[in-house]
């Protein structure tokens, strides 16, 4: 199987500070890969290394089977879209699109052809003679993508391209970007800190922390089978409930509660007893009529209610532990009220207390 981008044991250090640590990552042909993480996790740094805008300390980067570790950015067959779009303010849209092609000394008619094609795909034909200052946020975004598009590259790199936009436009452009990927079928590497963007766009997500990849997998795997405590906590909003206790003979015990982990897929069939943590997503907790079908049932006391329209977030007390529950928007609960909840252990996650890895 040939990879579009291969990253081999990549190291990057600024002085004594190691920003990327022995990082390996293979990206498939035509794949949409999202690098996800909070700020400072090294995701943008990794993208800049792939682009050739940062000099790596050690390791190699291959694009389309060619070692490009020391190539100039323009020689790597990549196009890049930046957070601020980085359109050249003094040039027209057309000038922006053709700048790279002129630098590559392409013939004039070829430049015209490519610009026209990109303008057609992105529907920015009428804007070609305008300056970036006269464009809306969404239009600038499209021009920025067009600049990568005209260069006919193998790999598109996106550095948080939607985070400068307002919420509504962001959703629209997200959909458009997905459509574009379906149409072009290029390899795309996309950096974001927004998990919704990551979940909706990605074929695979790489969750990063401290210059290393915590988990690489499909959005479904990342959400349902987080490989460690960090990923479990990072993904999902509101975030997962964690309870600290012990794993004993296939049951999770916390205080005087016993939760038999019926239907839970352990990573190893015979998992020894040990201190552990259970993670339960607020949206996986059932209430009302559904409780009686759930394998585990508890009674909790409601502490605080946050109605959010589409659903209601309930902060409750499970024993001495605070516990978040996502309920239907129509549910009527009051602080102080005691309610029944149901939990399905097969949808929960168990983590080793010490290593924080999934059990």
């Amino acid at each position: 199987m040939s990879y579009s981008v291969e990253i081999k044991q990549l190291d990057l250090a600024f002085g004594a500070v190691k920003v990327l640590k022995n990082l390996d990552l293979n990206i498939n042909e035509g794949e949409f890969l999202v690098l996800l993480g909070s700020s400072g996790c090294g995701k943008s740094t990794l993208l800049n290394c792939i682009a050739g805008l940062l000099e790596v300390t050690d390791g190699q980067i291959h694009i389309k089977g060619k070692n490009v570790t020391w190539e100039e950015p323009s020689e790597r067959g990549i196009g890049m879209v930046f957070q601020s779009y980085a359109l050249y303010p003094q040039m027209t849209v057309k000038g922006n699109l053709s700048f790279g092609l002129k630098n590559a000394k392409l013939p004039k008619d070829e430049i015209e052809k490519r610009v026209a094609r990109a303008a057609d795909i992105l529907q920015i034909g009428p804007l070609l003679d305008r300056k970036p200052g006269a464009l809306s946020g969404g239009q600038r975004q499209r021009v920025a993508i067009g600049r990568a598009l005209v260069r006919d590259v193998d790999v598109f790199l996106f550095d948080e391209p939607l985070s400068n936009l307002d919420a509504k436009l962001r959703v629209d452009l997200r959909v458009e970007l997905k459509r574009l990927h379906n149409q072009l079928k290029n390899t795309m590497i996309y950096v974001t800190h927004d998990q919704v963007e990551a979940m909706t766009l990605a074929d695979r997500i790489a969750v990063m922390k401290g210059g290393a990849i915590m988990q690489l997998g499909s959005p479904d795997e990342i959400y349902n089978k987080p490989r460690n405590l960090y990923v479990a906590d990072f993904i999902g909003s509101p975030s997962m409930n964690f309870l600290e206790g012990h794993l004993e003979g296939g049951s999770f015990k916390v205080d005087d509660m016993v939760m038999p982990m019926v239907g839970y897929e352990f990573a190893e069939p015979q998992t020894a007893d040990r201190p552990a943590m259970i993670g339960i997503r607020p949206e996986h907790v059932v209430t009302g009529e559904l409780v009686k079908n759930a394998p585990l049932q508890f009674t909790v006391e409601v502490d605080l209610v946050e109605p959010m329209g589409s659903d209601t977030l309930v902060y409750a007390k499970l024993g001495q532990h605070s516990f978040r529950i996502r309920m239907d928007g129509q549910a009527i609960v009051k602080a102080g009220q005691a309610i029944e909840i149901g939990v399905d252990p097969s949808r929960a996650s168990l983590f080793d207390k010490k290593t924080e890895d999934r059990l």
């Binding site: 950015p73 050249y88 790279g100």
Partner: protein, 298 residues
Amino acid sequence: MPDIALAGPSGPKPKKRFSRANIFLYGTLIMVSMYYLLPLYVMVVTSLKGMPEIRMGNVFGPPLEITFEPWVKAWSEACTGVNCDGLSRGFWNSVQILIPSVILSISIASVNGYALSHWKFKGSEVFFTILILGAFIPYQTMIYPIVILLREVGLMGDLGGLVLVHTIFGMPILTLLFRNYFASIPEELFKAARVDGAGFWRIYFQIMLPMALPIFVVAIILQVTGIWNDFLFGVIYTKPATYPMTVQLNNIVNSVQGIKEYNVNMAATLLTGLVPLVIYFASGKLFVRGIAAGAVKG
């Protein structure tokens, strides 16, 4: 960089138009303004009087009979030593020093500032720090070694030598000015240009330069006034035939021989101050920005 022109006053507003506080406020401002305007006024009226009138009256009175003869004399007849062709010689010398100095110093400093902000290399910050520290070293400790250097390259006493000196001593402040400006241009723009295959010079000329026009104007204002007003380097690195205007003015006014013609002296002084004054009044806010930029440290 604080831009005075854009921000509004932040102090409290005086209440009534003719309150006591207001009278004190405007009274003080007008009094102080007189102190600042007085020399300019005195120079103008003196330069328009004839010598007999000056000997009779006081310096502050307006001219009874306006004459432009002192101006003509200052421009084309006033004597320095053996030469009696007026300040015009110094003026043209200054112009010949000014134009190449401004172009050379700004070209070099803008490229330096660009390299220091977007193309940092090992040691570049060290050299920059030395350069900035150099701005604090008294000129006197560097003057003689430069004399030797200029002699070595055969430019001592030549206008070209002075151009070089102005380029050297303008470098710290201009480099700082351009470095800070280019650093404020988003790095992503620079990265985008590199992905687009542009190199050092192409990015400078096609991306950075068109965006930096305001700071070039600030730098030009800074350099034109600075170089025109220079006296020290003019005295040391030129010879009488190539003296800039300030040096020649000083020689005309403070020469011990002959009768003092105060009206000619004042006309000559005004002529020398005219170039920076025109720049000042024409540039307005940009001048303020220039000196504010000069005051900001890296």
